[in-house]
Symmetry: C2
Subunit: 447 residues, 2 copies
Amino acid sequence: MSTAVKAGDELREAIDADDLIAASHILSDIAPQEIASLFEQMESYPRAVAYRLLTKDRALDVFEHMDTAAQSELITLLREDEVTSVFDSLDPDDRVELLDELPAKVAKQLVRELSPQERDVTAVILGYPRGSVGRRMSPEFVHVFPDDTLTRALERVRVRGMESETIYTVPVIGTSRGLEGVISLKDLFLMPSDDLVADHMASPIFAFADDDAESAARRCVDRHVLALPIVDHEERLLGLLTIDDATRIVEAARDEDAARAGAMEPLRRPYLLTPVLHLARSRIVWLLVLGISAILTVNVLQIFEATLEQLTALALFIPLLTGIGGNTGSQAATTVTRALAVDEAQPKDVGKVALKEVRTGLLLGIVLGAVGWLVATPVFGNGIGVVISLTLISICTIAATVGGTMPLLAKAIRVDPAVFSTPFISTFCDATGLIVYFMIARAVLSI
Amino acid sequence: MSTAVKAGDELREAIDADDLIAASHILSDIAPQEIASLFEQMESYPRAVAYRLLTKDRALDVFEHMDTAAQSELITLLREDEVTSVFDSLDPDDRVELLDELPAKVAKQLVRELSPQERDVTAVILGYPRGSVGRRMSPEFVHVFPDDTLTRALERVRVRGMESETIYTVPVIGTSRGLEGVISLKDLFLMPSDDLVADHMASPIFAFADDDAESAARRCVDRHVLALPIVDHEERLLGLLTIDDATRIVEAARDEDAARAGAMEPLRRPYLLTPVLHLARSRIVWLLVLGISAILTVNVLQIFEATLEQLTALALFIPLLTGIGGNTGSQAATTVTRALAVDEAQPKDVGKVALKEVRTGLLLGIVLGAVGWLVATPVFGNGIGVVISLTLISICTIAATVGGTMPLLAKAIRVDPAVFSTPFISTFCDATGLIVYFMIARAVLSI
């Protein structure tokens, strides 16, 4: 990694100094994937300069390996013929992803300049709803038939494989394009014989084209297949989702979840290259929403203002109690959000989850309550000690239960569970926790 | 997915009813990967029963597809000869992962029962430190030479490929086992000719065996290669990390990060199958650590107790202000932790990050401060409005800066940056925020 970083620094210096010969020399020593990685970290202008220094074949290779955001920035800085040549050579699924990213006007023009056959393939993919796996699959595959011999099937892959994005997973197709199985190139290649494909193929793991891209991709990744066949509702084969595209989709979904759990929108570019204004924009909406909902806590405290005036010491524990409530809630929310993402739990499990979290929260509350009583009593007296202890027990039970069930409810009403996780739950637990705290304090201390 | 869920329910019912013929019938209709997925969701005992109903070949296939936790549970319930046969047939890297998981006594016995050749391969992998990619690579690969013709290289892969975990990425090895390049089976297979391998191979992206498994795996995934060559410090080839193993490593690392960001330890089993006591254990340590550090906020408030007694209204805003500070801090921490994980930032960028976050935090603070003044002034008067507004500006600036730089400092001192993210930063920002709040209040309101 450190050699790549060094090459990146040298490249930038060479371009800053307009020393294009040195720059081109540096580029010729690096693998295309590494160059793509360097380019993703560079500013738009030096990147476009460096890109023009690559030979045509390498340039295409590098382009394919860059992420979509960097691709779309680069495209706007290239000459028209350069753009067409790059775009023409992309795999159809990568092309669709890039089209989704580009301004509509640029996108339209690019599709117009494709060869009619290429345009057809793109159109097939574009027929599926945004976010569906149909958009991300490759419609170019080579298939074999169940009554082929293994030798004939292997020959078929050899002849037709050139057009296919992957040849390592070979779908087996029966009458009227129905998917009947898959066979790996490894099996075909290592033991060609007169056995029939039907006797050696495996039953396929597949997804429907209008399935959510994220869940199809997770299926591909979790089940360790190199390509997932994508079918229509009559189980006719439409394309393949390859593992590298699947991994990319899963990673993007996890980035989005992590950003939401951190109360913001995901960034589209590398952090260090994102301008301050963009950073602020990705965060401000959530802060405002959370800030406004936090006004609830001000209202709750206003109700108990008289109690506070009588015993100011109660105010000392507010951040401690709301902090613990927030942490307990976000622990439960994080666990359940993940279980939902990997299909380990469904909204219908809400009863089981609630029962589990009530018990977990109660257990945590009892432990923390005991510690709280031991710590608070010597300094603030037994009255306050008991209040803190009872409040911790209640807050932990409520926070764990709410934190655990909210993501399931969000999923049931088709809202991204990650949106409902940590930050919202913290705010909710803050307000509820304060009410519980002051009610317990009034009852125990008779104020 | 719903058919798989249905099959799972049917299977459990059949086993509960001791109807093993029905169970075996259900199992024969499902792909091994799907069965593995079902098994991961089942309790230990019915899983062991169901496992014995599989034919030997399918049983091995299913075992390989299960996660390590489920494998290690199953192993303890099988007869000795069953265990040995399963273990013998695992790929060496999967075997090492399982050995890491098993109780030391069971693990030792298993290694003793391996064939000498198998034991050698396992030992090679076990020679690398825990957490290194050497532990996770497959040492069984087929290689070709730069001066082979493509036709001869293809033949070599055909003859020797059986022993190799993957044959789709073929490493090219020069004198004294030095890695010189890689060539894909697709290239070899689709255009065999008398051209030399040296003229068609690509320069390799590789990792060193003692590199951290996570960063090597991320390299494989980010660069979209199906297998990453692993070399020693003389760049001699030792093995390959395949993309499915790489994806598994990256996913596990992300689960760990997500759990840490939610203030707990990651779970080893599916959520719904994790007992309440394990759930509580994965959470309690963090809650105690955070709770004890939150005592700091009680101490801070004690210092300002006199101010609070004079103006109880100040207490009303405590949860609001600490909540916004916590959210701003965790936004910055989440962004920078992710940038570190994907190598978009290094600890040496701490200056750049700090500058970026000071400006972002200030910008966010000004917007929120303005909103805060508008909302607070009509109800609580201009004095309190100004205090809230100035506090928000300061808290947001401090929280963003601390939240952004803490993960870099953690990484610099070799602590997992995720550990330092959201929860700790919240607690720190709470205490600092309260000090700032009361100091501004005293100055502005002259109390």
